[in-house]
Symmetry: C3
Subunit: 235 residues, 3 copies
Amino acid sequence: MIDPTASIGANAELGEEVIIEQGVTIGEGVTIGHHVVIKKDTSVGNFVRIDDHSVIGKMPGTNKKMARKPSSQLKPLVIGDEVTIGANCVLYCGSTIENGVFVGDLASIREKVTVKEDSIIGRNAIIETSTEIGRRVTIQTGCYVTADMFIEDEVFMGPCVSTSNDKYMGSGGSPHAGPILRKGAKIGNNATLLPGIEIKENAIVGAGAVVTKDVQAGCVVVGSPARVLRSKAGG
Amino acid sequence: MIDPTASIGANAELGEEVIIEQGVTIGEGVTIGHHVVIKKDTSVGNFVRIDDHSVIGKMPGTNKKMARKPSSQLKPLVIGDEVTIGANCVLYCGSTIENGVFVGDLASIREKVTVKEDSIIGRNAIIETSTEIGRRVTIQTGCYVTADMFIEDEVFMGPCVSTSNDKYMGSGGSPHAGPILRKGAKIGNNATLLPGIEIKENAIVGAGAVVTKDVQAGCVVVGSPARVLRSKAGG
Amino acid sequence: MIDPTASIGANAELGEEVIIEQGVTIGEGVTIGHHVVIKKDTSVGNFVRIDDHSVIGKMPGTNKKMARKPSSQLKPLVIGDEVTIGANCVLYCGSTIENGVFVGDLASIREKVTVKEDSIIGRNAIIETSTEIGRRVTIQTGCYVTADMFIEDEVFMGPCVSTSNDKYMGSGGSPHAGPILRKGAKIGNNATLLPGIEIKENAIVGAGAVVTKDVQAGCVVVGSPARVLRSKAGG
């Protein structure tokens, strides 16, 4: 079902049973898999590939217990040129996915997120709302990026890194604050980052570390809780 | 394809290519997304929202090596009123989702599970079979809730908490026993809970902790293995 | 949509809106759920069950920043007899799933992977490319199996185990090397395994452990970093 108000550029390849809702704009040379759903007013650039069963431009839901109510004023989702989106993904409206980004299968990206050029969001990775992700960032498979995070260019998050933004775990008492990852920081697989900490430029967090406080630029930290192994990353 | 034996209440909004199998009962005012599959005999309450590509009421499968064979006598899935279910979810038959529950995208809930009123099951969270989840519980994104767990009211599990129920890791030798989380317990992100432990009322487990034994009421534990930081949670 | 060049054996049960592309071969007695997509040239054995919304035989994608470019010479996916595949899964071409394997919902398996007879890949588990998984292996729910791993027969990986293969986290400087898990090794839930380590025959890694070096046969290791608890696993 392609809504008659949708616009699709030249040389598109569309799968079977694709659903394109009202006002969607799609560039030229796109490849869209079977059963893909593109929601109202989403904008898709040129030479984009979207694989089977993905949901693109979803509106958030809510329930009584949730602290953060979705804005009724969200803008449509904007997807740049040469973006690749895997199968069975869920991308929300109100976000921007810049040129050259790769999103793996089964990933989800919430509203009010920016993913800048040429970054990778791995399979099954989850990006919460109101997070900014820089250029050429790698967020590997299975990472959990909490709300209100700030991730600078060329950060590397290994598989299954877990982050959090709520010191009081749902009790109220402080504003939420996600970790800040400065340019070139590298986080090992299955590391745990606590709310509000800052991992400074080119710092390295070892696999499985539990980081409870800031890590200085160029430092290597390991362990639970993480302690400094080297104060300057060796070559 | 809507089976002629299915019953759908007033003011339903159904997406494209929705499949509703025999004997399904749906209340009034529901919103069902594109490509949703609702299996045989499932009961859906009033004002429920189910997003695109979710599978509702699935029968379990099995193979030769699996210890736990699915019962052939499972009841249909029952979903209460004002429940919200995200996109690309998989919910099994034989479970009950009470009024006001929120289930995030890409989550799955196995058979013989009860989720009580107003609880939240985060995106990508996985709830295994034969687990009971109380009222106003928060199970955040990416949590793994093993089989045979018992989670009381107002428990908070942060993102990516991992639990287990099999001390002997597939060798046999003891019955499976999941952790027990008592009322108001809070578990930090990416914590690891071992089989059969009990986290008592209002106890707090720090992010990344590995909990190998019971935690007393009101205590705070951190580290690997977790040790007591405070014997009574401060205000 | 079933392509006229596809071949489907006797007694198949196909759901609604199933898409079977060119050259697909399907054995007898298969059950295929609603909205399933089976890609070009995939071979499916006898008595296989594939649940709703799964994508079978996907071609890999890529972007500028990704180190590993997908081969343009991948063979089709081969699925043996009596295999069960859950809902919302994504299985790539170029892999072999042998007889009797069980794959849980929302799991994904990349190209150039072999999963041998009667093994279990849990729900939400992710298997990266170029990995070999032996017979009667259990990979529980939510595990992350990195690229270039080698997993022998009867290994048990508990839920949410995380592995990695890149010591330099995206900086280059060494070939990738995944962990090696020898016959009968058991890995506790949410354990972290570093690149290139070897867990030898019947060794046991405790839940939440961070394993930074080889573990000898029959040893039990726990903690962060993992240390030897017993040099020979007790009965």
